[in-house]
Subunit: 67 residues, 2 copies
Amino acid sequence: MKNRIEEIRKERGLRQEELAEALEVSRQTISSLENGRYNPSIILAFKVAAYFGMQIEDIFIYEGDAQ
Amino acid sequence: MKNRIEEIRKERGLRQEELAEALEVSRQTISSLENGRYNPSIILAFKVAAYFGMQIEDIFIYEGDAQ
DNA sequence: CCTCCTTGTAAAGCTTGCTTTACATAAAGA
DNA sequence: TCTTTATGTAAAGCAAGCTTTACAAGGAGG
């Protein structure tokens, strides 16, 4: 799974901490997602998509079985 | 999170076990998802959507913060 | 140089997603 | 009645997502 969180966050001029607060997660969670340390839960993916006003599929890119 | 897995599975004439096999998870996982015992990982949500040829948002319904 | 701001990352711990094994039950058919 | 098929669910255990605390490092500005 790749994701475009960092890209979209920066487009909107947000800091990791601001995004974290808006999504009700820790800053480390945002950092970890942006750097691919783990995948979000589906709940968090929905929150991200809702906050950005986008579809999950436009933010998170599933690349087959591996990862 | 609600989901339409059971509904779509039945539309397509599949047993839980067949769907489980196709998605490479256990039958209990399908049963648990259909009965709302827990939410899927985002990877599994992507697999379900890909298998059904639908968008995640059309199968899984996020209902705000609770659940 | 010093300080602040932003980000990266690690460790420990809790919670949740998923597995295997196992048993129960209802429906359908011989 | 007996058996088979499909489904529900529980328990134990491992893996992954997320938290808090903590520290490191680069860039910008005084």
